[in-house]
């Protein structure tokens, strides 16, 4: 590998065959280059009379932003593209963590450059902290083949493997409908929406696109009163009700009973998860004896009401 100094304009950024990083923020890198310069030269290779970038997209783009005209590079002399890519891969592996999207792109390039599938599973996936199985490889390949909008969404939302691979199982039109719903939500809720939507769709044999286009959901989404987070949460709840109708009706019955009883906010009563056990738990906080006794009295009063026994009846037919 030769070290050279090149004009940044001589590097063709159109050729993305070795590129694995997209949709990244440059601010920190720009700051670092401003302060201490470019420490780690990018790797380039000559192809069809052009100089193409092998690794260092972030660095080169940061230098462009800083209007740096010349930069040091290492020129890779190998002809074999797989060899070159592997070199770039190890160069990166030693210095930084890869995002999920980058991992997907790495696997995609390895396949594209002719690396054997089994070899990828055996050697590269553990290096990327991915379980050594073909289904994982397939899911990541599906992510790497997504349309740019979806890739950007995954990268910018730092989506972990599970929700990202679920997202990849929908079609582009469905994904387009999903982005505004998913973006205000945390990772767990994102996963919940995707899982519920897919499960409902498979159970009733209706495309997700159709499920998302029902009046109820369209009304929520077009509401001007609701924030995007409120809209997303409402749709999430709606899908949960469709996915778990019996459980949701139990939950609602339980809640409505508490409402009917005017259950005090400062005392929480909870069933076990999914009502799987018969027990309930009650919690309250107190800072002195008087508060404690007042809560106990309140509980005693609640327990003496007729409605209270309904909490324990298995058939929540009250509403």
């Amino acid at each position: 590998m030769k070290k050279e100094k090149l004009s940044i304009d001589d590097i063709s950024l159109k050729d993305e065959r070795f590129r694995i990083s997209y949709y990244f923020p440059l601010d920190e890198l720009i700051l670092s280059i401003k302060k201490i310069g470019l420490i780690n030269p990018p790797l380039v290779a000559f192809r069809d009379k052009h100089i193409i970038l092998v690794s260092g997209w972030k660095r080169v783009l940061a230098c462009t932003e800083l209007a740096i005209t010349h930069l040091p590079v290492f020129v890779v002399e190998e002809e074999d593209e797989l060899e070159i890519f592997i070199k770039a891969f190890y160069e990166n592996l030693a210095t930084r963590e890869f995002s999920l999207l980058e991992k997907a792109e790495i696997l995609n390039r390895l396949i594209r450059f002719g690396e054997d599938e089994q070899n990828i599973v055996r050697h590269y996936m553990p290096l990327l902290n991915i379980p050594r199985t073909l289904p994982y490889l397939d899911s990541l390949m599906a992510i790497s083949r997504l349309e740019p909008e979806a890739k950007r969404f995954i990268q910018e939302n730092s989506m972990p493997f599970l929700p990202a691979s679920l997202l990849a199982e929908f079609n582009p039109e469905e994904r387009r409908l999903l982005f505004p719903l998913l973006s205000p939500l945390g990772q767990n809720k994102k996963k919940e929406i995707l899982e519920n939507l897919q499960d409902i769709s498979r159970r009733i044999g209706t495309p997700a696109e159709k499920i998302l286009s029902v009046q109820e959901i369209l009304k929520i989404q077009s509401s001007e009163k609701l924030s995007s987070l409120q809209k997303a949460e409402k749709v999430c709840l709606l899908l949960k009700r469709k996915r778990y109708p019996a459980f949701s009706s139990w939950e609602e019955s339980f809640e409505s009973l508490l409402k009917k009883m005017r259950w005090p906010k400062e005392i929480t009563i909870r069933p076990t998860p999914y009502f799987e056990d018969e027990e309930f738990s009650v919690t309250f906080t107190f800072e002195n004896k008087e508060k404690f006794s007042a809560n106990l009295l309140k509980l005693q009063e609640l327990a003496s009401r007729e409605e209270f026994s309904k909490i324990f009846s298995l058939d929540y037919s009250f509403k």
């Binding site: 073909l134 289904p135 499960d199 076990t272 998860p273 056990d277």
Partner: protein, 371 residues
């Protein structure tokens, strides 16, 4: 009765396993099948594990190797639910049938159909195990990590197991199957403490979710023949699966069962509803894209496994128990596999006080076991 018996495409034999009588017997029964001697099964397993269609491929190969650890283990059951104090013999691993819901897809990292051939070690370990567990009646079976009879035409292990346990006073041996591979069983003198048990399901579930398994009618017919021969028989409605029309279709199977098999020969019927660890859902989704059973109202139970929401389970159990009782099973011990106390109480009207009480209940049809 249609008997479609499993034949592997290839047999792998661990080099140190060639001399065991069981290896010789299996190879004699598979004289037309290519054989390859291997040094270390682990390398073979590893190679198959990272290839495509691991499970499908695994089922086409038979691996003969030695059990290097314990043959006998307590059934892992599941935490937080009532277990039935069952012991398992890890003689065969994996199964040539291919049920969508099969837990082995998730549980076993080795995808090959594997037979442990060092039977001498098994008998030795069993002697020690039984000496240590003299109190009460034990139930022990081979059908947890595979199907007890699916390979019996090759291994003929049913004969050895039944004769070994015939002499033992405080053990009930259960051979649990979905197959009709009963040729060897029909040649053996029935033993008082052996139960041949069938997993049953509705015709639709059997057809759509239990690939490679005989029709339910054929299983019931096999049970009839075995019961008529004088063996005690057991049945497992597990996993019970909900779908539109389930009640009627489970009813048909139960009616057929009681019309065919003498209830006096039935020693137990277990019930269990569909349940599986969440990671199995991903495997099922991928391997069986047309199945819908995993998209029903399954919630996360106390043990982390997905199972039907409690009232739905209760509805399933109550109806099936009624059907069993109505068709002549009122005296047959019924029990649940991996269920909560509440389900026991609400569906069966009692809760076992501990594993001993459950053991006593399940061994009640046997009376005192004699030598």
């Amino acid at each position: 009765m249609i008997e479609s018996q499993y034949l592997p495409q290839k047999v792998y034999v661990e080099k140190q396993s060639f001399d065991f009588p069981l290896t010789k017997r299996i190879l004699e029964n598979l004289s037309q099948i290519p054989i390859e001697a291997i040094e270390n099964p682990r390398d073979l397993i590893e190679n198959i594990r990272i290839s495509r269609n691991i499970r499908e491929k695994g089922k086409t190969y038979l691996l003969l190797t030695r059990q290097k650890g314990e043959f006998v283990k307590p059934c892992p059951c599941t935490p937080y639910y009532i277990g039935c104090n069952y012991f398992i013999i890890n003689l065969d691993l994996n199964c040539p049938l291919d049920c969508t819901y099969c837990i082995l897809q998730h549980y076993l990292s080795n995808p090959l159909i594997t037979v442990h051939v060092n039977l001498d070690d098994l008998w030795r370990q069993l002697d020690v195990f039984l000496r240590r567990n003299r109190a009460g009646i034990l139930r022990i079976g081979t059908g947890e990590l595979g199907d007890s009879l699916a390979l019996d035409h090759l291994t003929e292990n049913s004969k050895g197991l039944i004769s070994y346990f015939r002499e033992k006073r405080n053990v009930i041996l259960e051979l649990k199957t979905k197959t009709v591979n009963i040729k060897n069983i029909l040649k053996i003198e029935p033993a008082q403490n052996t139960v041949i048990a069938w997993s049953l399901n509705s015709r639709r579930i059997a057809r759509e979710e239990e690939a490679g398994a005989p029709l339910v009618e054929e299983r019931i017919d096999a049970a009839r023949r075995v019961a008529e021969k004088g063996f005690r028989v057991g049945f497992h409605f597990d996993p019970i699966i909900r779908y539109p029309g389930w009640e009627e279709e489970y009813g048909e199977v139960i009616k057929r069962l009681f019309n065919a098999v003498d209830p006096g020969q039935m020693v137990w019927i277990s019930l269990g509803s569909l349940r599986f660890p969440p990671s199995l859902k991903t495997i099922i989704k991928e391997r069986f894209p047309s199945t819908k059973i995993i998209f029903d109202e399954l919630i996360k139970g106390k043990d982390g496994k997905l199972r039907y929401f409690k009232p739905l389970r209760l509805e399933l159990y109550k109806k099936i128990i009624d059907l069993i009782k109505n068709w002549g099973g009122e005296k047959i011990p019924l029990y649940f596999c991996m269920e909560s106390k509440e389900i026991w109480r609400r569906a069966l009207g009692w809760v076992p006080k501990g594993q001993e009480s459950l053991q006593a209940y399940l061994s009640s049809p046997f009376g005192p076991l004699k030598k």
